[in-house]
Structures are given as structure tokens and as C-alpha cells.
């Protein structure tokens, strides 16, 4: 039974991109945590949606958050850069340490420069060109030096594997790009601020399979530079891109372990039921 559940994942990998296949099996446990979440509770004013989550995000690796719809995955990662507070009625308690500092004691604006975020639906700024979109995080924060901005824009677009596709149309409207390109543009925009951690909330759910594959390759490459937390409802995706996987259920963290273990030999019965597709 446990042998059968690994199979579709392996097939998927070898079909698409053999080189990423290694991601799921890379040893992880050694990396020291870049972010440490302790007893995090959060809600929207009418009871908690998250009931005390504790987990450590390892440095320079990909951590996947999986779980059925409505279990609090988005709420969780939005707490990590305090975007949760933007929602009306939102409240949250507990501790989140970023390199030892409590993020709730930090300035939220400063925090968000260190913990970037990419959303479910690509959301480029519609009035800005491709170039201005990527530069926005810098220019809006007062970076005046044109050469610095230009350098960072190119670097970020290369980092997001988009440079070759857009280098001749940097002044064109961002809304003229395809959905997949727009999402990579959003990743480039987030990278330009040079965050330590990148949060991705179902970044591929609005994309077609080939665009999804490109974003996954990108995540694989980015892992060498920064720490990534990705929410996904697609278990194959979690298996393909992450080293650690957390399984959420109804606002609780059921299990958090090496991805390989979660998908082959989970400790909790509920995790096993979920990853074998018995519910959710």
C-alpha cells in the first residue's frame, strides 16, 4: 500500500523533469531554521482558524504546506509576513521568530521586505510596464540609483527564468504577458527586494501544466539562494518541489516531516489517508 502511493509521484517526475526528481529525496534535517513558528493561533474575529501551530522553516530549502481546502494554509503563511493583519477583523497570537527576532515586534513593512510573497492569482500592477513592475519594490522604497535598479531588475528576471522572454519588451505592459509569465513576473518582483524567505500561496493553481512545470523548475533553482514556503493543494507538486512537508487539517498541524517520509511512510493515519487520496 505504501509502495503504491509513491509510484504516481515517481512517474510524474520522470515524465516531466528528471533533474527535479532529486528534490523530494534530498536530505534536509541538517539545515538550521530560518524561521521558527511557535504556538501560532490566528482567526478572523469569530474564533480561531489556526489552533496553535509550531514548526521550523529550514534554511535554503522548500517547505510545502498541504491540506484540504479551508484548513488554514493561506491563513498560516499570511501570518509569516504579517499580511494576515490586512484582512478585516484578523487577529493572531503566538510567536514567529525570524533569525531570532520576533516578527510581531518588528515593523511590518520592514518584515515584508525580508519575507516576500507571491499570491494564487498573478497580480502584476496593471498600470506599470514589465520593467516598472519588477522595479516597484525598489523604486517605491526610495532606491533612486537607476543603474542599481536596472541591475536588480535584470538579475531578478533572470532569477525568475523570464529574462529571455521579456528582455526585448521591458517597456511593454505587464498585463500583456501570459498567465504563467505573469506569475514568474510576480516572483521576479518579489525577488527584486532580496527577501530571505519567499512565501508562495498556491502559485500554480491558475496556470496550465507547462507553465506550472516552469514555475516548479524555478522553485527548484531558487532553493539554492533562499528559503521557500509553498502552499499547494496538489500533492504531486509538494512531492516534486519540497524537502519538508507539513500536513494541515482543520487548523491543526497534523504532521511535519521530510517530504519523502510524509508521502511514503507517514506517522499519522490522517496524513496517510490524505496523501493516498482517501479524503480532501
Amino acid at each position: 500500500m505504501k509502495m503504491t502511493m509513491i509510484e504516481p509521484i515517481e512517474t510524474e517526475k520522470s515524465l516531466r523533469r528528471p533533474e527535479v526528481g532529486a528534490a523530494g529525496s534530498a536530505p534536509v534535517s541538517g539545515g538550521k531554521p530560518v524561521m521558527d513558528v511557535r504556538e501560532l493561533r490566528a482567526g478572523y474575529g469569530s474564533g480561531d482558524v489556526l489552533h496553535g501551530i509550531s514548526l521550523a522553516v529550514p534554511e535554503r530549502s522548500v517547505t510545502a504546506i498541504i491540506g484540504p481546502s479551508g484548513c488554514g494554509k493561506s491563513t498560516f503563511i499570511r501570518c509569516l509576513n504579517r499580511m494576515h493583519e490586512v484582512a478585516p477583523g484578523a487577529e493572531c497570537r503566538g510567536q514567529v521568530l525570524l533569525g531570532g527576532r520576533d516578527i510581531f515586534a518588528m515593523d511590518a513593512v520592514e518584515l515584508r521586505r525580508e519575507v516576500g510573497m507571491v499570491f494564487q492569482k498573478p497580480n502584476p500592477f496593471p498600470t506599470m510596464s514589465i520593467y516598472k513592475n519588477v522595479a516597484a519594490g525598489l523604486t517605491l522604497n526610495g532606491v533612486r540609483d537607476k543603474a542599481v535598479v536596472r541591475g536588480r531588475v535584470e538579475e531578478s528576471l533572470r532569477g525568475a527564468a523570464l529574462w529571455d522572454e521579456v528582455k526585448d519588451r521591458l517597456d511593454g505592459p505587464a498585463t500583456g504577458l501570459s498567465g504563467g509569465q505573469q506569475q514568474r513576473l510576480c516572483i521576479a518582483r518579489a525577488l527584486a527586494v532580496e527577501p530571505k524567505i519567499l512565501l508562495l500561496d498556491e502559485p500554480c493553481s491558475a496556470l496550465d501544466p507547462s507553465a506550472t512545470a516552469r514555475v516548479e523548475e524555478l522553485i527548484h533553482a531558487l532553493r539554492k539562494r533562499l528559503s521557500i514556503v509553498i502552499v499547494t493543494h496538489n500533492m504531486q507538486q509538494a512531492a516534486r518541489v519540497s524537502q519538508r512537508t507539513a500536513f494541515f487539517l482543520m487548523g491543526e498541524l497534523v504532521e511535519y516531516d521530510d517530504t519523502r517520509k510524509i508521502f511514503t511512510n507517514p506517522s499519522d493515519k490522517r496524513t496517510e489517508d490524505y496523501v493516498t487520496g482517501r479524503f480532501g
Binding site: M83, V86, R112, G116, P126, N141, P173, T175, R189, A190
Partner: protein
Amino acid sequence: MKRRKVVNAAMLTLTGVCALLSLSALFAILGYIAWKGAAAINWGFLTQLPKPVGETGGGIAHSIVGSAKVVGLAALLGIPVGVLAAVYLAEYGNNKLGFLVRYAADVLNGIPSIVMGIFAYALVVVPFKGFSALAGSVALAVILIPMVTRSSEEFIRMVPGSIREAALALGVPQWKVILFVVLPTASRGIMTGAILAVSRIAGETAPLIFTAFGNRFWDEGWTHPIAALPLTIYNYAISPYRDWHEQAWAAAFLLLMFVLAVNVTARTLLRPRGGAAQG
């Protein structure tokens, strides 16, 4: 079955006739004013001052300049206030104060414009002891502010939350998000609303009667009476002189053309340009 069809046909005819009626009212007005007014428009009419009573000829250059000044200052006073109030309502206004401001703006929008004239009279004319261009601008600005506020608020609210979130998540402070991301995204809508509102106040007569007052000469500055197109139309139309009646028609035609041109410009602005479709 048959009865239903008859009722259906009757309703269709009735609504169709009413639709045509409202359209023909517009064309009747346009046509009649063009017929009466267009002929009297010439270079002298546009560039000269009025001739003394009894002499024929002369123009309404002073009213054109006067309208531009009074309406221009009103726009300068009213649009920034309206847009900033709209930012408050859209971004922070989901509270009691927001509700009050919104309600007040709606009430103001429904108040007859002559009341705004009386208000400006009490506010500016009485303390300054005299009619003035400034008082006219204040009266028009008071009409402009609630219109701009409400239309701008709608357009600011139409900016998707995802755009705000994208900017906030980059570590951009909220005021910069509003100023450099939200407002530019809503700017074409805001501009359209403001232009339409300005074109409406450009045609207002009542609030100018006891504020700007009117003048048969070039104005002597912001604290003195000034001419304006609607005032001149009004004064000429109720005068006993045939010559003035013709000039009133011509001035009305001019005003109408201005309003029409502004409307067309505003609608064109709001149409999405190639590729970047947005609200």
C-alpha cells in the same frame, strides 16, 4: 397565450416610444440651439467685449475667460479635496465617520445649486463686502466636491484588493501603496469623473447669480465681479434687445459644444486602451 403576446407587443412599443422620446429630446435641444446659435458665432463674437447698449456687434470674450477662470479655480479647489476625501472613504472609511461623510456627500449632491450660491454668498461675499470671482469659484467648488468624492470613491474601490496586497507584500508602506499604486490604477476613472463634474459646474447659473454676479467688461481680479457664460446667457436672454437674444443663443451653443466635447473626451478616456484592460 394570445393575450400574453398582445401585452408583450404593447409593452415593447410603449418602452420603445419612450426611449425614442428621450433621445429625440436631446436631438431637439441640440438641433434647435445649433440652428439658433451657430449663425451668430464668428471671430468677433469670440474675441470682443460687448458693445454698449444700442450698438450692434461685440462679443462675449469676457464671459469665456470668466467661465474659464471661475470654473478653473473651482476645479483646483474642488478636485483635490474630492479625491482625497474619496481616498479616505475607500481606504479607511468603513466606520461611522465614513458613513457620515458618504451620507453628507449624497445629500449635498441632491441640494439645489442655488442653495450653494447662498452658502457661498454668506461665506465669501458678505465678509469680503462684495461679489467676486472667488465667491463664484467657492460656490462651484462646493457643488464639485461631493460629485468628485463619490465618483472617485467608486473607482478607487474598483481597484482589486490583490493589487494592494501585491504592493504591501513588497514592503511598501500603506500611504505609498495608495499614492503610487492604487491611485494610478484608478486614475483614468477618477479623471473621467472629475471631467464630467467640471463640465456640469461649467453650466451652472444659479450659484453664480449672487456670487460672481457678472460683468460687462474684463474682470479686475479674483475679488471683483466677473462674467461667466451661463450668467451672460441668462442676462442676455431676459433682456429686451433682439441683438442680445441672438448672442444668448450663440453663447448657449458655445456652452453646449464645450459640454459635449468634454463628455466625449471623458468617455474616450474611460475606454480601455489596447491590451491593458482595466477599470
